[in-house]
């Protein structure tokens, strides 16, 4: 067969690229990183890239907990409103939004606040489009009768937004509680990032971080 050497070469190069890509999934060496960089047009272009594919499902590390995003408008209520799902689901749509909540949280931990705030802007803007932001009493339909007494100038909303992480309870603790019939208190969620969201024109939202990077949370925000 005339093309056998060429096909063999293509197979070898392809399999080598796959091995390099897969080897980078755990903890790549400098050589692996360099090889991945050289091969990245092929690996990224055709999605053979395995760097961030979580084939392990969980490693049981701190960052594996449940992440979600909450907002509140203190002029409406002091309660936090959760805008990303916190219940399990087989739906890919649910995975996507939870993935974004986790990504935003991890980025703040990595001090990549600019990227994290971009994601938060998108999530809040989408909530606003869908009419899911906290609503003042005066904006409700039944208050329209009193419109004359209201200030008609559009007011820009300000929200508080936070990224929260639920740590995982120790299994031994649960087993011990089951043994003695005790009821455990719910685990407190950890606030990883706090920011202020200010509404701009045309559903633009500006996010101003209120907490320092690396989990420094302003006093009283928990």
């Amino acid at each position: 067969m005339r093309y056998k050497p060429l096909i063999s070469l293509a197979i070898v190069v392809h399999l080598f690229a796959i091995v390099v890509s897969m080897s980078g999934n755990m903890s790549p060496s400098l050589l692996q990183q360099r090889l991945r960089y050289l091969l990245s047009p092929y690996l990224i272009g055709f999605n053979w890239y395995m760097d961030f594919v979580p084939v392990e499902l969980t490693h049981g590390v701190e960052t594996d907990g449940l992440w979600w995003i909450q907002i509140r408008d203190t002029s409406v209520s002091s309660d936090w409103q959760t805008i990303t799902p916190t219940t399990p689901s087989y739906l890919e749509s649910s995975h996507r939004i939870r993935q974004m909540a986790r990504l935003a949280g991890l980025m703040t931990l990595q001090q990549r606040t600019a990227e994290s705030t971009t994601i938060l802007q998108g999530l809040i803007a989408r909530q606003a489009i869908e009419g899911k932001l906290p609503v003042r009493r005066s904006n409700l339909p039944d208050a329209k009768e009193n419109l004359g007494s209201l200030d008609t100038a559009p007011t820009k909303r300000q929200l508080e937004v936070r990224i929260v992480r639920q740590s995982v309870r120790d299994l031994e603790e649960v087993q011990l509680a089951n043994k003695i019939g005790a009821e455990l208190d719910p685990l407190p969620a950890e606030t990883v990032f706090v920011a202020k969201a200010i509404e701009g024109n045309a559903n633009q939202w500006f996010i101003i971080p209120q907490s320092e990077p690396r989990r420094m949370v302003p006093p009283g925000s928990r």
Partner: protein, 299 residues
């Protein structure tokens, strides 16, 4: 037998392309399921006012550490902003998948389906999960063989000629699946929770186990350990049994059992199904000694 003869025997032997035809149909169905998952929320993410609108994606990609990856992210989805355009694009994807399943267009339809899936990954790489790599590798390897002889309308017909391209594609499927399972097992063994039998507890605590409740797992620690170790054990069993011809079918069954356990313990559905479908590359492949009837040596 020399190394070259072994290489030639492994890669350059013509085989019946029927397994590829079946996998092509399965991949088409899987792609339609993937598209259906986007139908629910495509406008939420990718529309002009979506969470990952073009300006926001540009910001996210610009701040990515690897600048090389930015210019590789080419996708027509960047130009589609309105909801009807995005839904139209999804319907176009369904059509492409059906055409590929019907064997119309040969390699072209498989390449088109491959590119279609890639456009979603390049448009929003941060939304890509476990299923997408398997979808793209499947279409990539299916593009090697034309798929005209075996398709949705010719499943029961056995008149296809042995094909060298079909063998190369099937071998790539097998090798890639094997490497994937090795990676999966190695990666899981890198975490202490998989050794301690507590990985399922972690998944349930992260609200990633729709089928299992935390309270039930807390009351049944042995079941929790058995489920965690079961996932590892079935994958290891598949690794050892997939290549020997005598145990191949048991290996595929072990893989399917692992996929079933993955559905039970995690919130993944498309990923275990795709992994299980990859197992067909072993299930339908006949052994070297058993396929002499259909073999036509290229030498």
């Amino acid at each position: 037998m020399t190394l070259q003869q072994l290489w030639d025997k492994f890669w350059f032997t013509s085989i019946d392309p029927k397994p590829l035809g079946i996998m092509r149909i399965c991949w088409s169905i899987l792609t339609i399921a993937y598209i259906a998952s986007w139908m629910v929320d495509i406008q939420i993410w990718l529309a002009g006012d979506g969470i990952l609108s073009n300006p926001r994606m540009a910001e996210l990609l610009q701040s990515a550490a690897d600048e090389q990856s930015v210019w590789l992210r080419i996708s027509p989805l960047y130009w589609l902003q309105a909801e009807w355009q995005l839904v139209g694009y999804l319907l176009f994807g369904v059509l492409l998948s059906l055409v590929a399943a019907a064997g119309v267009g040969g390699r072209l339809s498989a390449v088109s389906a491959w590119l279609f899936v890639l456009t979603f990954i390049h448009r929003a790489p941060m939304l890509s999960g476990l299923c997408e790599p398997l979808l793209t590798l499947g279409w990539g390897y299916l593009s090697i063989h034309s798929g005209k002889e075996q398709n949705l309308f010719r499943l029961g017909i056995h008149d296809s000629q042995p094909s060298l391209a079909a063998n190369i594609a099937l071998r790539l499927f097998q090798v890639h699946l094997f490497a994937w399972i090795i990676l999966s097992v190695a990666s899981q063994c890198g975490g202490l929770v998989w050794w301690q039998g507590e990985a399922v507890w972690w998944l349930a605590s992260e609200a990633r186990s729709p089928a299992l409740s935390l309270s039930w797992l807390g009351r049944n620690p042995y079941a929790l350990n058995a489920l965690t170790h079961g996932v590892l054990a079935t994958q290891l069993a598949a690794l050892f049994m997939l290549w020997p011809l005598d145990t191949r079918k048991y290996g595929v069954m072990a893989l399917w059992l692992a996929c079933g356990l993955l559905i039970l313990i995690s919130d993944q559905l498309l990923y275990p199904i795709a992994l299980g479908l990859l197992g067909l590359s072993y299930w339908f492949a006949k052994g070297e000694g058993r396929r002499e009837k259909g073999v036509r040596s290229e030498e």
